[in-house]
């Protein structure tokens, strides 16, 4: 029982890192994705095609590989090792975390951007035309009328993607970020206890259940207004 509590606490420590990675990824990836979506739908042809190519490449390669590129390539190819960038005071663990975060943010921004683009394209033309006829400016149209409808449209695909993010955080261990999975393998390597490895499943499951619940609540809230 005592070990159970100790292990739980130790895993919870790793889970803190998992959570930080999760929330920071959302925080940065969402605005970045908006920008990507705008670029990918831009009328400036080169920008549009570059953006789409970039999104295509990121979506076509494993996040695992992208993590490695962010963490190792600066040092190998450009003589500028990630850990020596003095990110937030220069603590090495922090540098790794920031590197991993960067890879997650860019990767998820690409996925989110595609969702946003779909959500925007699904708004009926009639809504824009009604706004135009009623004398609204472009920004009024977007922020006062279109945006909330986009949010409603994207809730379901975003929910899927965010649950995927919960689980993808486990990949960060490959670039030395001590998240919950790493914490569990530490317990194995140092104290030779195996079950925490499987016990992490409870954390992931609980967290993704929570995320799903929140999204369902948001969806219910918005469906109150319109079907």
């Amino acid at each position: 029982m005592e070990t159970f509590i100790k292990v739980t606490l130790q895993l919870a420590g790793g889970f803190g890192t998992t959570l930080a990675l999760f929330f920071l990824t959302l925080l940065f990836a969402i605005p970045l994705a908006l920008l990507f979506a705008v670029f990918a739908g831009s009328s400036i042809k080169p920008l549009k095609y570059l953006m789409r190519a970039f999104i295509y490449i990121i979506r076509g390669t494993p996040l695992l590989l992208q993590l490695m590129i962010v963490v190792y390539l600066p040092g190998i190819a450009f003589n500028a090792p990630l850990t020596k960038w003095q990110i937030f005071g220069g603590n090495v663990a922090t540098s790794y975390f920031c590197g991993a975060l960067f890879a997650f943010v860019v990767n998820y921004a690409c996925y989110f951007a595609e969702i946003f683009r779909g959500g925007i394209e699904n708004i009926p033309k009639g809504q824009y035309e009604a706004c135009a006829v009623l004398g609204m400016t472009r920004s009024q149209t977007f922020f006062r009328v279109i945006l909330l409808q986009v949010i409603r449209n994207i809730l379901a695909p975003m929910s899927n993607e965010v649950v995927t993010l919960v689980k993808d955080t486990a990949l960060a261990r490959t670039v030395s970020v001590v998240e919950i999975f790493f914490a569990a393998s530490e317990l194995l390597r140092v104290q030779f206890i195996i079950w925490p490895l499987f016990y992490t499943g409870v954390f992931y499951l609980g967290f993704s259940a929570l995320v799903t619940l929140l999204f369902n609540m948001a969806e219910k809230k918005l469906s109150k207004y319109w079907k």
């Binding site: 190819a77 003589n79 090792p81 990630l82 850990t83 030395s176 390597r189």
Partner: protein, 251 residues
């Protein structure tokens, strides 16, 4: 490309300027591990701290994925690997080693239930075996004529090999003696044991720096001092590694 050129003139100056040396480790008893209070400790930990103190720099330990240690070193994310790193000829092509400070022998680990079955190297001839991919253990298995017919599968790490042995996926594995000593009989590995009378090739542990780094020389100086004044032996005694320490000195 190679990361050392930044510090092109002197890796030592570069690290001095940084004020700290980033030491790549994995958690591995008895070399580097967290004790009950959550402080990092171990033979290599104390050794590294002592060396850095003498060099007037700070030691910053960074846990890395052992799989990618060469990449970590090459990308200069870390400045050295100091974690029971076996000196091998292949590795020499990729990093510089200091003077060896501990002997390392490989040993065979099995489930205690098989104690009567696997008593010598001949009895292993049809066993399912594993070792870390690219490790000294792998070389040991592949070069032993008695083991020519074993079914061998590489593991991603020694820790993985131990876990798979415990799960019964293998009959026997070959890993570092230090690690085997620390893990067999502990925790969920209480059913694992070392087969003492199967002799395996013996190697040496040293610290790995980037190729051409002048840190190697500076650290060698300090090691020489610590051997002379007995302080290194004191650390070895503390972690019950005296025997391996002395074996290294003799070679």
């Amino acid at each position: 490309a190679g990361g050392t050129e930044t510090a092109s003139d002197s890796d030592y100056e570069y690290i001095k300027n940084n004020g700290k040396m980033v030491i790549g480790i994995t958690e591995y008893q008895p070399m580097n591990y967290y004790d009950e209070n959550g402080t990092l400790t171990g033979f290599d930990t104390e050794f590294a701290q002592a060396v850095c103190e003498k060099l007037g720099i700070q030691a910053e330990f960074q846990i890395i994925d052992w799989d990618t240690k060469e990449t970590e070193l090459k990308s200069s994310n870390i400045d050295c690997i100091w974690n029971g790193l076996t000196v091998t000829e292949e590795r020499r092509g990729n990093m510089d080693f200091t003077t060896p400070y501990l002997a390392n022998k490989q040993c065979v680990v099995i489930n205690s239930a098989d104690a009567d079955k696997y008593t010598d190297i001949a009895s292993l001839s049809s066993a399912l075996m594993s070792a870390e991919s690219g490790s000294a253990g792998e070389t040991a298995i592949q070069s032993a004529t008695e083991l020519a017919s074993v079914s061998y599968t590489a593991s991603a790490s020694q820790a993985d090999a131990l876990l798979a042995l415990n799960a019964g996926n293998y009959d026997a594995i070959v890993i570092d003696y230090t690690m085997a000593k620390a893990s067999c009989g502990q925790g969920d590995y209480s059913n694992l044991m070392i087969v003492e009378n199967i002799p395996m090739a013996s190697e040496l542990y040293a610290i790995g720096f980037r190729t051409g780094s002048d840190m190697t020389g500076h650290v060698n100086e300090v090691i020489k001092e610590m051997v002379a004044d007995g302080s290194l032996k004191a650390i070895a005694d503390k972690y019950e590694l005296t025997e391996l320490y002395e074996e290294a000195l003799n070679q």
